[in-house]
């Protein structure tokens, strides 16, 4: 590349730089593509091995820890048992335990978005994505069986039926911080409506309904007309008021001691 003086020289230099840049970008693109290909090969090989040689890997502790490290770094899930006849019939073998671990993992990952309440169908499809390389798909029934095996660890996981849909709740009431957020919204006026909760906290309808219903729970409170009533069942923190003209149900929280909404001392 000869350096020419003057404007011509500058233009040549600029053109040359441009060409180098394009070349660099191409090389980078090829490099990324190649790397992705190699990564995909690596992953599929690891998954194959995890499935075929599971027992052998477990026998050798040093190799096992190295294999796990490889899987973790590359993003491969080493839990890859197949269901097998006996597992399905008698519920033995690792398959349902592995499924259990994967289910709880998905619930943990989606908890920030749905507050611990997930549709069973959605759960199954996410599970299917995770287990792409497994030979059979996982049915909803499998999910339910796996969840039932977790029962011995307490009632943290619950499957509730809402109409035809089934929902899995992974956060027990004692640990559910959603309720705190509703209470904070309620501090403004002493009551909340379903739309307000959805709007202010950006929740789905299902999540909001579930949280409000839980706050009402065990209190048989249906108001007659206006909101004061004297059922002294004291479990629930909220009361329903259906008497308003606009027809929307309001949830009152008398326990919120904010001075502005403290009615009738």
């Amino acid at each position: 590349m000869k350096r020419r003086p003057g404007i011509g020289g500058l233009q040549t230099a600029a053109a040359a730089r441009n060409q180098y840049r394009i070349l660099g970008e191409n090389v980078a693109k090829i490099r990324t593509d190649l790397m992705k290909e190699q990564l995909a090969t690596f992953r599929s090989q690891l998954e194959d091995f995890a499935r075929k040689h599971k027992n052998d890997i477990r026998k050798n502790p040093t190799f096992r820890s190295q294999f796990h490290e490889m899987c973790a770094k590359v993003g491969v899930d080493p839990l890859a048992s197949n269901k097998g006849f006996w597992a399905e019939m008698l519920g033995i073998g690792d398959f349902y335990y592995e499924l259990g671990v994967q289910i709880v993992e998905i619930c943990l990952a989606t908890r920030p978005h749905n507050g611990g309440l997930i549709n069973l169908q959605e759960l199954c499809s996410l599970l299917g994505q995770k287990r792409k390389t497994a030979r059979e798909a996982v049915s909803e029934d499998d999910c339910l069986r796996a969840i039932s095996k977790l029962k011995v660890l307490g009632s943290g996981f619950e499957v509730i039926s809402v109409g035809k849909k089934k929902l899995v709740r992974s956060v027990p009431t004692e640990l559910n911080k959603d309720h705190n957020e509703i209470l904070e919204v309620a501090q403004g006026q002493g009551y909340v409506t379903l739309e307000e909760v959805q709007r202010r906290l950006s929740w789905s309808a299902g999540r909001a309904t579930d949280a409000l219903e839980t706050l009402l729970k065990a209190s048989s409170c249906k108001s007659i007309g206006l909101f004061f009533f004297l059922f002294s069942s004291t479990e629930g923190l909220a009361m329903i008021d259906d008497g308003h003209s606009d027809g929307k149900r309001r949830y009152w929280f008398p326990c919120i001691s904010s001075i502005s909404s403290y009615v009738g001392s």
Binding site: N60, E98, V101, S170, L237, C255, I256
Partner: protein
Amino acid sequence: MGCTWCEISQLESLELYFSIHYNIDRQLRSNFTFHHCFDQIPQMSTRWLPAAQLTASGRPVFILGEVESSLLSGVDIEPDDQYPNLSPLKSGILILTTHRLIWISDSSSAFAIPLSAVTHIFSPKKSIKAMFASPRIRIQVLVSPQNGCLDEKGSKSMVITIVVRGKTDPEAFLGKLWEAWRGRAWETLKEESSSSTSTDEGSSRSGIRTRSAVVGVAGILRKEQEMWESTDKSLQDAFQDLNALMDKAKEMVMLAEKMRQKLLSGPSTQGTGTNDEEIGSKQEMQDWMLSVGIASPVTKESAGALYHQQLSRQLADFVKIPLEKAGGMISLIDIYCVFNRARGTELISPEDLLQACSIWEKIDVPVMLRKFDSGVMVIQNKSYSDEEVLARINALVLKPDSLRSGISASDAAMALGIAPAMAKEHLLTAESKGLLCRDISPDGFRFYVNLFGEILTEDIYLVKDYGTYGTWISAVLASR
């Protein structure tokens, strides 16, 4: 401050040394630090083996790359007769790893015999006496000449006898000991770090020599090409079969790490349809999993009869980090998932987990299992105990606002930062302990501080100078 080799305080030890050998002014003595085993003063020393670190729950702290292989209980370690001043270690747990033999006593002190100091393992004596006595394993180790303390660079050697009194299979253990010793895992680590640097230099030097003719852009491209080809080839070779993978395991781990770094720094994902947020959180969880993965999970094969106890200890160690992240309380099912993930393919069943948690009551660990009436089970820190929460409720209920109008479950929930259902439980507990009184009204359920303890039945209007009765009265009066 004391000598690490025996428990005599430093000043005492200096005095011992100097009183026997020299007369040195007291002031000068403080400038000397040494340990006095180097002289011939005969003392009963229990510290002839290097100490091993233990976690808070009594599990050994493993060094990088160290993997547990087997565990025996009821083990004594006896030194050679030629060093009568070394006292034997009695009745502990012996853990064999790829790098060391770790002995843990019940009183939570631990020592380790690095396998690099072992020069010979004797085959077991076959005699009639040996059949009836507890099985013994004898190994020869290097010691320093003066005092018999274990020293990898020592010049003399000593025979250590490992007496196995527990109900375990010494033959299998001996086999694993041979394997670990022959594996020389500690050496390969050093070899690798030195060889990797030397091969880098070598290849770059040879590269310069043979390819000095090719420079510039073409040279760079060709080098890239060759790098990809060699990675391809080693991938192919490694995954031919399981043995090949085992041989090339270390190389593959490094390759995986390189790929991961490039993946993280490079442009993101393959553009699937699902949320970006979900993928982001998945990545974060993956990274977190990597950092807390358990390299040596306790399994039935490695721990035998002590499986549940060791599992319970490993769980107690593991659970600390998730507990902190979750704010002091975490559901048992969440821990089941996270713990199993860290263990990789060595899953434990839910029943095992429950049993491990119930053993915590018997051993001294900083965590506990708690069952709620609703059936929910959680793990919480012992320090996040009821007493602390009660103290906080007490402080909350003595505030002027609360003295006037009491607190409800939701107030407590927001003040303590916990869910309302939990807050209600705590308030009910406080009431049952006599700290609070309830007030049921159309406004709901409220709690006030319990003043009945301070009111005398004879004179119910008497207000003592100290105590909360007076504070309450002043607070209520102030609101009118």
